[in-house]
């Protein structure tokens, strides 16, 4: 069983902040990207695989395959960072039995019906309800874009 060192929601998935900072802070050897669109698209998949920092492997799984791999062996061995593109996918995993003691919200884009949780994280009313439900169930949700800035607890915002 791999040790899940970090679970992050970030619409940019494996990008600069993750490659340069978080993968190193969390000392991971694997990044698991859980996203149906990317898992199906060969080009996108290779873009994110190529994005891997030195010594780190990026694996892109569909939601279904990820849950299988999670239940089978918690993604094998090593230290792992798990990434979701949006709050909804992350909530789906949570409901499917994915153990989430802590959840990091890194980047979520602006949108017409969205409210800011920070300068970098925006959520719809529906998404805030999902987060509230997760927080109530014991998930420690922190809005934290880069390690150099302090994280803010979701609980303190609502």
């Amino acid at each position: 069983m791999a040790e899940i060192a970090l679970i992050r929601v970030d619409f940019r998935l494996v990008h600069g902040q993750v490659v340069v900072k978080w993968s190193k802070v969390a000392k991971v050897s694997k990044i698991i990207v859980i996203n149906d669109v990317i898992a199906k698209d060969k080009t996108l998949k290779s873009v994110y695989k190529m994005a891997a920092p030195a010594g780190v492997k990026v694996l892109c799984y569909s939601f279904e395959k990820a849950m299988e791999k999670y239940k089978e062996s918690r993604f094998g061995d090593g230290r792992v960072m798990v990434m979701f593109k949006d709050i909804n996918d992350c909530y789906r995993a949570f409901k499917a039995g994915f153990d989430m003691p802590k959840l990091q919200l890194g980047n979520a884009p602006r949108g017409a019906d969205k409210k800011p949780l920070s300068n970098e994280v925006y959520a719809t009313g529906k998404e805030i309800e999902l987060l509230k439900e997760m927080a109530k169930a014991g998930v420690d949700i922190v809005i934290h874009t880069i390690p150099e800035a302090a994280g803010v607890s979701f609980r303190k915002l609502i």
Binding site: H15, G16, T43, A51, N119
Partner: protein, 139 residues
């Protein structure tokens, strides 16, 4: 003439192009894109495609991005895969950009790409080591 697009995080691309023009003078068909934290990624990618179409006079376009794994490289990686007349290099540095400008009239897009990769690598030098080597040369 081969078009050059530099796309990076923040003001790095614009700064590099500014520095290059200090040495080479004002250049045609060179465009810098800087991604800011608040930028929409799809819009950023669309702007780069639009610019690439505009710059391509048949000779093609060379895209230089800051590093593999960053958003500028991620979003353009998908674009490059489907474009025949465009090449891309990640890890842009100043020697590479100067080479791109100085050699873009001399060969094909593929040749320029190879040349820029080589010169970019050769441009990374340990200064003290190099100076010691130079001193030894005279002995």
């Amino acid at each position: 003439m081969i078009g050059i697009i530099v796309a990076t995080h923040g003001g790095f691309a614009a700064g590099m192009v500014d520095g290059m023009e200090l040495l080479c003078g004002r250049q045609e068909k060179v465009v810098a894109f800087g991604l800011r934290i608040e930028d929409d990624l799809d819009a950023f990618a669309e702007e780069i495609i639009r610019k690439a179409d505009e710059l391509d006079d048949g000779d093609g376009v060379l895209l230089l991005v800051d590093f593999v794994g960053g958003s500028p490289a991620n979003i353009t990686g998908g674009l490059l895969a489907g474009r025949r007349n465009m090449e891309g290099i990640a890890g842009v540095n100043f020697p590479m950009l100067l080479e791109a400008i100085n050699s873009r009239d001399e060969g094909t897009l593929k040749e320029l790409t190879d040349q820029c990769k080589a010169v970019g690598r050769m441009g990374i030098i340990d200064i003290k080591e190099r100076m010691e080597d130079m001193e030894k040369e005279d002995e």
